[in-house]
């Protein structure tokens, strides 16, 4: 197609060509073209086939409200080609096509629509039952529009940006620009979001007069220039607003230009106030075959010519209901389009100047007429026009039908911000009842179309936004409002819902192929609210969501049900524009904490797992049974990085009271230099944490928690002491301190070499706590623990010194062949000792007594003061609880798998951890079982997954399984 050139309104650069591949051919477009306009310029009229009926679909509007022009571009499905700027080398494919897009083999389905009334799938295909699985497969294949390959790999860079602003203006049309300029004058930070590649909104292409000798497009460019040159306005073009949340959190995505560092990026703005100036889109005109290629909306036809230099057809009929239709007809006629006639729904209320200009050009205008049917299989060839009551008809041949019932405000941003909207009889718009705090609307979406009124409303909104955040007072707002009130107000809108048709092929929703007839069927079947009709007929649930049917559906339902109440809008939900997951994901975070020893653990052969918030070394060889690691600790000496333990300083005059409240033990008896193992319970007496408590001085304690609880501990203390007004403080030292566990019979020999203290068994006995230095420099907090059942020191070291201490220990232990051990080795070592790990030997419902840890509980403390004590008393004699027991397999050949059930005719418990012990040669473990099975000697039947009813036999045995007297850890 030949392009019209040399307009001031053109957005294409005809000196720069761009090529795309479509159906094996290379097609040319220009820089500034969208994929859709480039295809249109190359004579492509059918862009896709519709979901259900495989009807041909073409260019209908230019803002991507429907899936008509969604295509696969470079392997990405459902790309809105109207909104996607053409880049060189794009590969474009039509969607939902069987055969070719021009000759679709499934097109015959269009004739079978009588088989597929509203909700037909609920009433069919289930009798006999065997039909359904077959039918379902067919449905699945037929459903869906785009295709993504399972091994698709995204190309490009996806980024994210988080901003704050004083005023965020959504929509870069005249009203939005005025609001931005007004707000910016006071010096505040303003952000403007504009979805198109350029500012200007609907003035960008219109030649109508702004003022004498100044067309609208010139004024739009003038404003855009001012906005772009204002240093405190940041303009985001090609940026679609997608979400609005509490306290004016606005989300959007921006498409990068060719020289941007990102392909697309997620934009999140926390703005003090917001101005919404998103204008209007056209309300589709509903008549027979209203989505036939060749039928398009007014702005689409107008912009094709004015922005892209494309005359949309040869000979056109207009069927419109507003002055913009007249304006476009006039302008397109002057550009060379033949116009057979203009049917205007309105009987009166036309702009006299426009009518005169049309008459001057001998373009017939039929008042009170509307398009009733478009003819032609793949492209409009003829139009039937009818009077509004349908009694008189006329047929007019044409290849373009410009159709539009009226306008509908783009209320989405307001609705997402919890604005209730209501139908307004005068404008025919859904207008906000009350705007949310610090959010204002301006421009065409308020129902005004007069250029000065638009600008004035932008100015008012800008001032209101400033007043809302306390930058100016309200006097300026009142003055501006007064001025604006003198300008033309809200237009009367066209209310026509459908042309006089039965509606078999009159589509209210293009994406889902929902017709007026379908809506009637649904209403007759009892679905009388738009929201339910939407669910039953799918109208408005397709790729373009409510873009096409959003306004017409409530209008039609209200009319058809003759409901006394006003039309009820359907829900609008984020994202307002379908948004790539790649864009939402942005930079793709992968955040875990690393211990201070991460690098050396890795170098030492550690195999890591992401556990909770940490990355931890679980194994140090590919033998996941960890035989060498375990035996090295039992017989020699090993090192474990336990830095993930929660570590806290709790201090202040009431610190002890807090400990007494949270821990089950009596902490008043703590002695300096000794450690105390204890546990914390919740209000059900269930154990939520266990760890060590150390008294370091008067009113000064150091406690450890399990790794998983570290993040919750401070809040846990605060919550349970919140009414007491106690004086104590907590410092979370989890990241400030690292922990090295050195265990094994040779542990002392190694540690002795670097510690500046006597660590002999007499000087530093089991369960002791000492503070000393290493090499006269590094402060170490050392405790003698027995978790793994051997002589063991736990060294708490400032994180920055961790690597040094570790390296010194490694060097000192070299003569013994000291080795790393990991979490799994520790898991087995402690299991052999019958020591629990919370979450492994316990679950949510397991209380302190169930775990056999009742000895920790000091009953003499006032019960009500200890969290969980009341529950423990109440549950103490309850026979219906699980107990933790030691088990040994009848056959020591192997241990049952963790998680295996203990059963008889019912489930009686399960195996928490079980291993074949390398140390003792026995297959042993711990299990939670019903209390009547918990006596030593009880026989247990074990039911594993995939056991084919062959049960393993075990019996309850006393714990620990290794070194029952605990001699080895006390060495």
């Amino acid at each position: 197609m030949k392009r019209l050139r040399q307009f001031p309104t053109l957005h294409i650069d005809t000196n720069e060509t761009r090529s795309l591949k479509y159906r094996g051919k290379s097609l040319q477009g220009f820089a500034g073209d969208t994929v859709a306009t480039a295809l249109y310029a190359n004579g492509i009229r059918i862009f896709s086939r519709s979901l259900k009926y495989h009807r041909p679909r073409g260019l209908y509007n230019l803002d991507g409200e429907s899936s008509n022009t969604c295509m696969e571009v470079d392997g990405v499905p459902n790309v809105r080609t109207e909104n996607t700027l053409l880049k060189d080398g794009m590969v474009v494919k039509a969607q939902n096509v069987k055969g070719s897009v021009d000759h679709d083999l499934m097109a015959f389905i269009d004739k079978l629509d009588w088989l597929m009334p509203a909700g037909f799938y609920y009433k069919t295909m289930h009798k006999p039952a065997a039909v359904w699985p077959v039918a379902m497969k067919a449905i699945r294949k037929a459903a869906g529009v785009g295709t993504i390959s399972a091994d698709y790999k995204v190309k490009g860079r996806y980024d994210e940006i988080f901003l704050t602003a004083d005023v965020c203006v959504i929509g870069g049309g005249a009203a939005g620009m005025m609001a931005a300029l007004t707000a910016a004058e006071s010096g505040v930070r303003v952000i403007v979001l504009e979805s198109r590649p350029h500012l200007g909104g609907c003035w960008d292409y219109r030649t109508g007069a702004y003022k004498e000798n100044k067309p609208l497009f010139a004024r739009a460019r003038e404003l855009a220039g001012q906005v772009e040159n204002t240093s405190n306005i940041r303009v985001f073009k090609q940026t679609s607003m997608v979400g609005a949340y509490n306290n004016n959190l606005i989300t959007a995505f921006q498409v990068g230009k060719s020289n941007d560092a990102f392909t697309e990026r997620y934009v999140e703005i926390r703005s003090k106030s917001v101005v919404v100036a998103t204008g209007c889109i056209e309300r589709p005109l509903i008549f027979e075959n209203n989505e036939r290629p060749g039928v398009m909306q007014v702005a689409c036809a107008h912009r094709l010519a004015r922005s892209y230099g494309l005359l949309p057809g040869e000979a056109a009929v207009f069927s419109i209901g507003h002055d913009l239709g007249l304006e476009a007809a006039l302008d397109l006629f002057d550009l060379g389009l033949k116009i057979r006639c203009v049917a205007d729904i309105r009987e009166d209320g036309h702009d006299a100047g426009l009518l005169a200009a049309l008459a001057e050009r001998k373009i017939p205008v039929l008042k009170g007429w509307v398009a009733a049917k478009a003819h032609g299989c793949k492209q409009v060839t003829k139009v039937t026009l009818a009077t509004l009551d349908g009694t008189v008809k006329r047929h007019i041949p044409c290849d373009l039908l410009v159709a539009s019932a009226g306008h509908t405000p783009v209320n989405g941003p307001l609705i997402l911000a919890q604005t209730n909207i209501a139908y307004d009889n005068h404008s025919g718009f859904f207008l906000p009842k009350k705007l949310p705090e610090k959010m204002f609307s301006a421009g065409w979406m308020t129902g005004r179309s007069h250029p000065q009124a638009i600008e004035a409303s932008g100015q008012v909104a800008g001032l209101k936004a400033l007043a809302a955040i306390g930058v100016t007072d309200k006097t300026a707002v009142f003055a501006a409002e007064k001025e604006a009130a003198a300008l033309p107000g809200i237009d009367r809108g066209c209310k026509l819902v459908t042309a006089p048709v039965k509606g078999r092929k009159s589509f209210i929703c293009f994406d889902e192929d929902t017709t007026i007839k379908n809506i009637k069927q649904a209403i007759d079947m009892g679905f009388d609210v738009p929201e339910l009709i939407k669910r039953f007929t799918s109208a408005g649930t397709g790729p373009g969501q409510g873009g096409i049917p959003g306004h017409n559906l409530p209008l039609f339902v209200s009319k058809y049900t003759a409901s006394a109440s006003k039309p009820m809008p359907t829900a609008v939900r984020p994202p307002l524009v379908p948004t790539l997951l790649a864009t939402y994901a942005g930079a793709h975070h992968h955040m875990f904490k690393r211990t201070p020893l991460h690098a050396s653990q890795k170098k030492g052969g550690g195999i890591f797992r992401n556990i909770g918030v940490w990355q931890r070394a679980r194994y140090f060889s590919s033998d996941f049974d960890c035989k060498d690691e375990i035996l090295n600790v039992r017989n020699n000496v090993g090192l474990l990085d336990s830095s993930t333990l929660g570590k806290f300083r709790i201090f202040g005059p009431d610190a002890l009271k807090a400990l007494q409240r949270l821990y089950v033990s009596d902490m008043s008896k703590l002695k300096q230099g000794r450690i105390k193992y204890s546990a914390m319970c919740n209000d059900d007496g269930c154990v939520i944490d266990d760890g060590i408590v150390i008294k370091r001085g008067d009113n000064d304690y150091y406690v450890t928690t399990s790794s998983g609880r570290a993040g919750n501990t401070v809040e846990w203390f605060r919550y349970h002491t919140r009414y007491d007004g106690w004086q104590y403080h907590m410092v979370n030292l989890t990241d400030a301190m690292g922990v090295i566990n050195i265990s094994g019979p040779n542990a002392r020999k190694v540690l002795k070499k670097i510690a500046d203290a006597d660590i002999s068994n007499n000087a530093f006995p089991f369960a002791g706590y000492r503070e000393f230095t290493v090499k006269n420099t590094i402060p170490v907090r050392a405790m003698r623990l027995g978790f793994v059942g051997e002589l063991s020191f736990e060294l708490h070291v400032p994180s920055s010194y961790m690597q040094s201490v570790w390296d010194m220990l490694m060097a000192a232990g070299a003569e013994f062949n000291i080795k790393n051990f990991g979490l799994e080795a520790q898991n087995v070592l402690r299991m052999e000792k019958g020591h629990i790990i919370l979450g492994q030997e316990s679950e949510q419902r397991t209380n302190l007594l169930d775990l056999g840890l009742g000895f920790l509980w000091d009953r003499k403390k006032t019960a009500a003061k200890t969290v969980g004590a009341v529950a423990l008393r109440q549950a103490e004699n309850d026979p219906g609880r699980f107990k933790l027991v030691g088990i040994r397999m009848q056959d020591d050949a192997r241990a049952p798998r963790d998680g295996a059930l203990i059963v008889d005719t019912h489930v009686r418990g399960y195996v928490a951890t079980a291993r074949k012990s390398f140390t003792t040669g026995e297959a042993v473990g711990m299990a939670l079982v019903e209390s009547q099975l918990s006596k030593p000697g009880s026989r247990l039947e074990i039911y594993e997954d995939e056991c084919n009813e062959i049960r393993l036999q075990a019996r309850v045995v006393p714990m620990p399984f290794y070194d029952p007297d605990g001699q080895r850890m006390k060495m």
């Binding site: 009588w114 069919t124 963790d898």
Partner: protein, 407 residues
């Protein structure tokens, strides 16, 4: 005529001044209970009062996943029966509930998760429910889009494969049950709000609604996320329930990509493809109680990050709609099904959290038996309210729960 267009639930009924049973809440549990009261017990003098329209709440907002691979022996049989009922109800109601028996795949991302899966699988197999542990490679064979490489946030160790599960068209269940109820004479009163429940001498006496007063000896509250509030405000009974907004979303519709329901605990995320072709995904709950049903900027982003990791091809797909619903969470993630305690004639069916859809048919069946016979069926006994005061949590969730100011 092939198709008729008569109202599925007949003409709008007039509110009578008395009913044998009044059900507050026209969601799945209320409709199912009414249906089985009529079908199994001949009790048709039943009114369902629904403040909005049937299926407004969780019934129309859940992501329609059904399965019977719960953790404990109390739950598995109930959900198994519910699962078995989908084809039966389809036939009985003569309404295609569109049960897609595609099977569920629960991804496991750690050794600990594999242990948990083993226990769940053993429990399922012990109760005759099919469920298997498979490794990452097998999972990839079933779901080619899966990323089983080591370099993602939570590498996949294996999966629990549960063939009997799948997806059911949730709206169809609402409409089908409503159709079944209406056909048997149950009155469904939409846009009718219950405003008070009356008792006399420790027994139920009646219900006041926005459309008038009803005398009745039996009331069931099955108002989903609003149950705990209704029961507290109207009867002064405080239930251990926290109500939280839970979000779900769909991508634009695609040709078949996922043939199973796939979920991941570590990523807090599930994904399945609806019959319409959308990838439905969700799982996140707000960390504090609220009734807003509002979506959050954080969550849709989180979901995209998670899916980008384990289903990376979805990076080339677009989200088109996100919505929120309510989950009424009990401390042990198991529901409260109770009757005649502490008020005679008062029944409650609540606390389902996000399991209300998959259980509705079986729960309705047994609640109907409970209401009709006034005796609690064995199946429902473990779900009594008193278990909480005895500190006997059910164990449906294994994870240690932090009781915070919020629950």
């Amino acid at each position: 005529m092939l198709f008729t267009y008569k109202s599925l639930w007949g003409k709008k009924p007039r509110l009578k001044s008395s009913y044998e049973v009044v059900i507050i809440g026209g969601g799945l549990h209320g409709l199912a209970t009414a249906y089985y009261l009529a079908r199994d017990h001949g009790i048709t003098d039943v009114a369902i009062v629904e403040k909005r329209y049937i299926g407004f709440g969780g019934a129309g907002r859940n992501t329609a996943i059904v399965r019977a691979n719960q953790r404990t022996q109390y739950n598995v049989p109930l959900y198994k029966e519910a699962l078995d009922l989908w084809p039966v109800l389809t036939k009985e109601l003569d309404f295609n509930l569109m049960f897609n028996n595609c099977g569920n795949l629960n991804l496991m991302h750690s050794e600990a998760a594999m242990k948990a899966a083993r226990m769940t699988i053993a429990t399922a197999q012990f109760h005759g429910v099919e469920s298997h542990l498979i490794d990452a490679k097998q999972a990839k064979e079933m779901v080619p889009a899966l990323n089983i490489s080591e370099d993602i946030t939570f590498p996949i160790h294996g999966a629990m494969y549960h063939p009997p599960g799948g997806i059911v068209r949730h709206d169809a269940v609402v409409w089908g049950l409503a159709k079944g109820c209406a056909k048997k004479g149950v009155h469904i009163h939409q846009q009718t709000e219950a405003t008070a429940i009356h008792t006399q001498g420790g027994k139920i006496a009646g219900v006041t609604t926005s459309q008038g007063h009803i005398k009745t000896p039996k009331v069931l509250v099955s108002a989903g996320g609003y149950s705990a509030g209704v029961i507290n405000h109207m009867l002064g009974l405080k239930l251990p329930i926290s109500v939280l907004t839970i979000q779900a979303m769909v991508t634009q519709p695609l040709k078949p990509l996922l043939n199973h329901v796939v979920s991941s605990g570590a990523y807090h995320c599930y994904a399945n493809q609806t019959l319409k072709g959308e990838i439905a995904t969700g799982a996140h709950m707000d960390p504090w109680p609220n009734y807003t049903t509002q979506t959050t900027a954080h969550y849709i982003k989180h979901q995209a990050e998670a899916l980008s990791d384990w289903l990376p091809c979805l990076r080339g797909v677009r989200f088109m709609r996100i919505w929120g619903g309510l989950a009424d969470m009990t401390p042990d993630m198991a529901p409260i099904l109770e009757g005649n305690d502490p008020i005679g004639g008062f029944y409650m069916d609540c606390g389902w959290g996000y399991f209300g859809f998959k259980s509705c048919s079986a729960a309705g069946k047994y609640m109907a038996q409970f209401i009709a016979t006034e005796n609690c069926p064995d199946m429902l006994k473990p779900f009594n309210l008193r278990r909480y005061e005895k500190h006997q949590l059910m164990g449906e969730t294994a994870a240690l729960v932090s009781y915070t100011p919020d629950n």
